[in-house]
Symmetry: C2
Subunit: 185 residues, 2 copies
DNA sequence: GTTAGCATGTAAGGAGTTACATGATTTT
DNA sequence: AAAATCATGTAACTCCTTACATGCTAAC
């Protein structure tokens, strides 16, 4: 229980690892990590920061010594030693949740601070996940050939191609991680 | 209020448009329409069917005349006249929600029953949406060039490329809809 | 004999959104 | 003068998942 969004925790702790930040700026940077799609609302961000504070992973300090221009005083959040430990523990995990759509991007964004074996496990897990998807698309194409119209087929074709492209991308990354420098690197 | 998942309603009504189905089979076919990722749980599907029934858009009938093999009697859902009207009304809409990630695939899956002008509006809306995304990625790349490591840059590069590919795909589809047969069609 | 597939549902809870509340400053 | 950006937060609500409850048949 009390699982919350581990992915979001990871993203926030990871960003604060570089430098202390206030909520508003944090949200903008989260867009880079979570993908420019899923832009987080404050209704998610602030409760999350409160949670991280309660766990002792970050500290919050009202920065009223520097109210720039006359703007509202910002609350700056900073990673604690316990927070760094927790971040390292999260980064070391490579369970099945690491390679799902929602978390893979975040895990990848912090690869620079992830051990090589963990990186490889995540990349390979992601690749298997996509291969399962390729299988299930092929099966469903075969099953529904008569029923499906041109648009449905086109959608499936496009989905298949996108997944295949991502597999090729992962293959290159995996070769690269193993030190087998591919010609395109 | 009472918005519920309009997208899910559309998907279910659209599938029942072809033929009456029972819940279990419906769920499998939804995987084709919603994408093989997001496989719906029964905890979402059955309440949704109940909702559609309450609105008078579908009827449910216990099919105990045909308990195949001795299997549990299936409950077969069928579209009503009101349901067909509601489906047509949903399909005629081309608001900003049509081209978001969660709904675009479903809207596209029913393009065969969508008027040409609506199809074009949705495809063009989707394209603008992706172009906004391309802009926001470029901006964030520019802003974070120094801060970002190789992995973050690689993630952004891959995101950019995927979005560009989808734009090209949309361009082809739009030309095709306009009757300007592209050489690759 | 046990796993997988067929088949329908409910209850509790988690994750996140939207709308609200508030107000200053900078750009158009 | 209006709109956008900066800045923090809460309350209500929605959508969806997980786990539970039940039981039969076919394949391995």
């Amino acid at each position: 229980m009390a699982r919350r969004a581990d992915v979001l925790d990871l993203a926030v702790l990871g960003l604060l690892h570089d430098s202390p930040l206030h909520g508003y700026e944090l949200r903008k940077r989260l867009a880079t990590v979570l993908g420019p799609f899923r832009v987080l609302s404050y209704g998610t961000l602030y409760p999350c920061l409160k949670h991280l504070s309660d766990q002792g992973w970050i500290t919050s300090a009202a920065n009223d010594t520097d109210p720039v221009g006359g703007r509202r005083a910002r609350i700056v959040y900073e990673l604690t030693a316990a927070g760094k430990e927790h971040f390292d523990a999260l980064v070391d995990e490579s369970g099945p949740t690491s390679w799902e759509d929602e978390s893979f991007g975040v895990r990848f964004a912090f690869f620079a601070r992830t051990p090589t074996e963990v990186r490889l496990r995540i990349l390979e897990g992601r690749r298997s996940r996509l291969e399962e998807r390729l299988d299930s698309i092929s099966t469903s194409v075969a099953r529904s050939r008569e029923r499906a119209d041109q648009y449905t087929l086109e959608l499936q074709r496009h989905g298949l191609e996108s997944a295949q492209r991502e597999v090729r991308w992962l293959n290159e990354l995996i070769s690269h991680e193993r030190g087998e420098q591919p010609p395109t690197a």
